[in-house]
C-alpha cells in the first residue's frame, strides 16, 4: 500500500528536480518553472500530512500556498518581461547590470 | 440530354438487403456460433440474478423475453453501461448528432433555405451519416514540418476532454450520472480550461500561421470569459450550499434558480456561447480573417472529431445550464406508473427515472436551440470588444446578482440552513 513515506519520497524527488533546475538553468522562465515545481512538491507534502492527520488545515494552507504561487508567477513573469524589454535577454547571467 | 442520377429502385434495394441478411446468417451459423461455444467453454460464466448464465439460458431468453429482464437490469447497473450508453458517451453523442441536424435545419429555416434534403427519405435526416462517411473516406493531410504526434493526438484529446465534461452531468434522479463528484461544478470549470490549451497545442503543432493566431485567440477568449463563467454559477452555489451537481438539482424541487438568479443565468448563457466558440464569439475560427482559425490544417476525420467534440461540449454546457438554473430533471410527472396495465412481472420501467430523462432532455434541447439562435442573427464581434465585454460588463453583472442572492439569504427570504435540510 502507498503510505505517507511514498508521497514524501515523491515530494523529495520533485524538490531535487527543482533544485537542479535552479542551479543549472539560466533562462529566467525555466527558473520560474523550477520554483513552481518546488512549490508544488511542498504542497504535496502538506496535503499528505493533512491526510495523515485527517484534518483540513493542511488543505487550507495548500490553497493559500497555491494562490500565493499564482501571484508570484504573475509578478515573476512581469519582472521577466520588463527585464527582457530593457536588456533584450532572458538569461539571468546577463542581468548583471541590475546590481547597479 | 439531362443527366440526373438513376432513379431509386425499391426492388433492387430490398433484394440487396435480403442478400446481406442471407450472408450474415450464413457466416454467423458457420463461424460465429462455434466460436461462441468454444469461448463459453473456457470462460467462467457470469451470475445473473441467482443463476449462472449458461448458453441454454441465453438462448431461452430469446424465446421468452421476460427472462431477459434480469440480464438487462444487470447490464444497466454496470459502470460500462453508464459510461458507454446512457448518461455517458452514447447519450451525449446521440444528442450531439441530433443537435447538428437541428442546427442545420433550424438555421436553414431562419435563412429561407431548405437545408439538408436528399439523404434519407425525410428532410435529409441521414445527412450527418453521409457527412461522417465522407469525412472518414477523406485523406488526412499532415502539413510539412508539423509535429506529427501532437497533430494526431490533439483532436482525439479534444473529444476525450469533451466526453469527460459530459461525464459530470446528472441526467435523471437516482444517481443517473457517470461520475458523481462532491466538487462536480468546479471539476467542470477545471476541465473546460483544457480546451483552449488543446487548441493552442494543435495550432502550434500544425506549423502554420493562421492556426497559430486562432489558437492565441482561443486563449484570449478563455481569459475574457472564464471568470464571468465561474462567477455566474456562484449565486446558485450560495443558495444550494453544495458543489455536487445532483444535489444542486435536488435543491431546486421548490423553484428553479433562474427565478432568483436571472442575471447570472444571462451571464452564464453569454459566457457559454464564448466557451463554445459559437457566433458571435467564434473568433478562433473567424473565417474571413484567419482562414479557419485553429482548425485550418485539419482535414478528413480530424475535422470530424473536432466537430464531434464541439457538439459534445455544446450538450454539456446546455445541460449544465439546465442543471444550474432550470431545475434539471424536475418537472410534472406525466408518465404513468405502469407501461402495460396489469403486468405483474418484474418491474423494468421506472416511471420517475423516465420522467426525469424526458424533462431533462426537453429542457436541454430548449437550451441547445437557444445556443443555436445567435448564429442566425448576429455577426462576429472583434477581440477587443470581447475582452471589454467580459471584463467590464459581465463580471459586474455577476456580482450584482451574487449580492442580491446574499441579501435574500441574510434577509431571511430564502431559508438559511439550506434548501436541502
Amino acid at each position: 500500500m502507498n503510505e505517507l513515506i511514498d508521497y514524501l519520497v515523491v515530494s523529495i524527488v520533485m524538490i531535487s528536480v527543482g533544485i537542479y533546475g535552479i542551479i543549472v538553468k539560466r533562462n529566467a522562465i525555466r527558473m520560474i518553472f523550477s520554483i513552481e515545481i518546488i512549490a508544488n512538491a511542498v504542497n504535496l507534502t502538506l496535503i499528505a500530512f493533512s491526510r495523515y492527520l485527517s484534518d483540513v488545515q493542511g488543505q487550507v494552507f495548500t490553497l493559500f500556498a497555491i494562490a500565493i504561487a499564482a501571484a508570484e508567477i504573475a509578478v515573476g513573469l512581469g519582472i521577466i518581461i520588463i527585464a527582457y524589454r530593457l536588456y533584450r535577454e532572458i538569461d539571468v547571467a546577463e542581468y548583471r547590470s541590475l546590481k547597479g | 440530354m439531362v443527366t440526373v442520377p438513376k432513379k431509386f429502385g425499391f426492388g433492387s434495394f430490398v433484394s440487396s438487403i435480403l442478400w446481406l441478411v442471407f450472408w450474415i446468417v450464413v457466416i454467423v451459423t458457420l463461424v460465429g456460433l462455434p466460436l461462441i461455444f468454444i469461448i463459453l467453454f473456457y470462460v467462467p460464466l457470469p451470475y445473473i440474478g441467482d443463476e449462472v448464465l449458461t448458453p441454454y439460458l441465453f438462448f431461452s431468453m430469446m424465446v421468452d423475453p421476460t427472462r431477459t429482464i434480469p440480464i438487462i437490469k444487470f447490464l444497466i447497473h454496470t459502470d460500462i453501461f453508464r459510461v458507454m450508453v446512457f448518461p455517458g458517451f452514447g447519450y451525449a453523442a446521440i444528442i450531439a448528432a441530433v443537435t447538428i441536424f437541428v442546427e442545420r435545419k433550424f438555421l436553414a429555416k431562419m435563412q429561407l433555405r431548405v437545408g439538408p434534403y436528399y439523404v434519407g427519405r425525410w428532410e435529409g435526416i441521414l445527412q450527418l451519416m453521409a457527412d461522417g462517411l465522407k469525412l472518414i473516406s477523406k485523406e488526412i493531410i499532415v502539413p510539412s514540418g508539423a509535429d506529427k504526434l501532437l497533430f494526431w493526438l490533439a483532436p482525439v484529446l479534444f473529444v476525450a476532454t469533451a466526453a469527460a465534461v459530459t461525464a459530470l452531468i446528472p441526467v435523471a434522479p437516482g444517481g443517473w450520472v457517470v461520475a458523481d463528484i462532491d466538487v462536480g461544478l468546479i471539476a467542470v470549470f477545471a476541465i473546460l480550461g483544457f480546451f483552449p490549451l488543446i487548441a493552442l497545442l494543435f495550432s502550434w503543432a500544425s506549423n502554420s500561421k493562421y492556426p497559430f493566431i486562432g489558437g492565441l485567440r482561443a486563449l484570449h477568449q478563455m481569459v475574457a470569459f472564464e471568470i464571468p463563467f465561474i462567477l455566474s454559477a456562484l449565486s446558485v452555489v450560495l443558495v444550494a450550499g453544495t458543489l455536487n451537481l445532483t444535489e444542486i438539482v435536488e435543491s431546486q424541487y421548490l423553484y428553479w434558480f433562474i427565478i432568483i438568479a436571472p442575471i447570472s443565468a444571462f451571464v452564464f448563457y453569454i459566457s457559454s456561447l464564448a466557451e463554445l466558440e459559437r457566433i458571435p464569439f467564434d473568433l478562433p475560427e473567424a473565417e474571413s480573417e484567419i482562414v479557419a482559425g485553429w482548425i485550418t490544417e485539419t482535414s478528413g476525420m480530424l475535422y470530424g472529431l473536432i466537430q464531434l467534440g464541439t457538439y459534445l461540449k455544446l450538450y454539456a454546457l446546455a445541460a449544465l445550464f439546465v442543471i444550474l438554473f432550470l431545475g434539471g430533471w424536475t418537472g410534472p410527472q406525466i408518465f404513468p406508473e405502469e407501461i402495460i396495465p396489469g403486468y405483474t412481472g418484474e418491474k423494468i420501467y421506472n416511471h420517475i427515472v423516465i420522467n426525469g430523462i424526458f424533462w431533462f432532455t426537453l429542457k436541454t434541447f430548449g437550451m441547445i436551440i437557444l445556443f443555436l439562435l445567435p448564429r442566425g442573427i448576429s455577426p462576429r464581434i472583434r477581440i477587443d470588444i470581447l475582452l471589454h465585454t467580459g471584463w467590464y460588463k459581465l463580471i459586474v453583472l455577476c456580482f450584482i446578482n451574487i449580492f442580491a442572492v446574499l441579501t435574500l439569504i441574510y434577509g431571511g427570504i430564502i431559508p438559511t440552513g439550506g434548501i436541502l435540510q
Binding site: M1, N2, E3, L4, I5, V9, V10, V13, M14, I15, S16, V17, I19, G21, I23, V24, K25, R26, N27, I29, R30, F33, S34, E36, I37, N40, I47, A48, R51, Y52, S54, D55, V56, Q57, Q59, V60, L63, I66, A67, A71, A74, V75, L77, G78, I79, I81, Y84, R88, E89, D91 | V183, F189, A190, I191, G193, P196, L197, L243, I385, H388
Partner: protein, 179 residues
C-alpha cells in the same frame, strides 16, 4: 471501493512517473512552449496525488489555477519574449554536472533522514472528515480569516505590481478606444 484500493498503488506509481517525468521534461525540452505544457502536465500529476489523498477541492483548484491560468500565462510570456535563439542556448557542462550532483546529494541525504525516521512506518488511516469543501470554507473564513485578508492584499499587490511592471512607458496610446 475495493477495486480502488487495489488500483491505488498502480495509480500512485503512474502519477509519480507522470509528475516527475514531465517536471524533468519541463526543464529540459527544446522548445519553451513544450516546457510550459510539461509543467502543466506535472501540475496535473500533483492534482492527481491530491485526489488520491482525498483532497478533491484542492485538486480541482490546482487544475483550474495551474492548467487553466498559469500555463496560459507562461505560454503567453513565451510568445511575448521572442527571438528563438534565446531559448535554445546551451548551459555550460560543469554547471550542469554540479547541479545534478547537488540535486542527488540533497535527495539522498533528505531521503535517508526520512527513511530512518518514524515517518517511514506511519500509515494513513481512515478519513475522519466529511464535507471537506464546507470545512475548508469554514476554516478559511473563521480561524484563518486574518490570513485570508492578508492573502487578498498579496493578490491585489501582485496584480497591481505585475501590471505596473509590464506597462510600457514609451507609448502614449490615450487614443485607443477599448470599445
Amino acid at each position: 471501493m475495493i477495486e480502488v484500493h487495489i488500483m491505488a498503488e498502480q495509480v500512485f506509481y503512474g502519477l509519480a512517473i507522470l509528475t516527475i517525468g514531465s517536471a524533468i521534461f519541463a526543464l529540459e525540452s527544446r522548445e519553451l512552449i513544450y516546457g510550459a505544457i510539461g509543467l502543466a502536465l506535472s501540475m496535473l500529476g500533483i492534482a492527481g496525488f491530491f485526489i488520491l489523498l482525498d483532497a478533491p477541492f484542492v485538486a480541482m483548484f490546482q487544475i483550474a489555477v495551474y492548467v487553466g491560468a498559469v500555463a496560459v500565462l507562461v505560454i503567453f510570456t513565451v510568445m511575448l519574449v521572442r527571438t528563438n535563439e534565446l531559448f535554445t542556448k546551451r548551459e555550460d557542462k560543469n554547471r550542469r554536472i554540479a547541479g545534478i550532483v547537488f540535486a542527488f546529494i540533497f535527495m539522498i541525504v533528505i531521503g535517508l533522514i526520512l527513511l530512518g525516521s518514524e515517518l517511514s512506518k506511519a500509515s494513513i488511516g481512515e478519513l475522519k472528515i466529511d464535507n471537506i469543501t464546507q470545512k475548508i470554507g469554514g476554516e478559511m473564513l473563521t480561524y484563518y480569516s486574518p490570513a485570508f485578508i492578508l492573502l487578498a492584499l498579496v493578490l491585489a499587490g501582485s496584480i497591481i505590481g505585475a501590471l505596473t511592471l509590464a506597462r510600457r512607458e514609451d507609448v502614449d496610446n490615450s487614443y485607443e478606444r477599448v470599445n
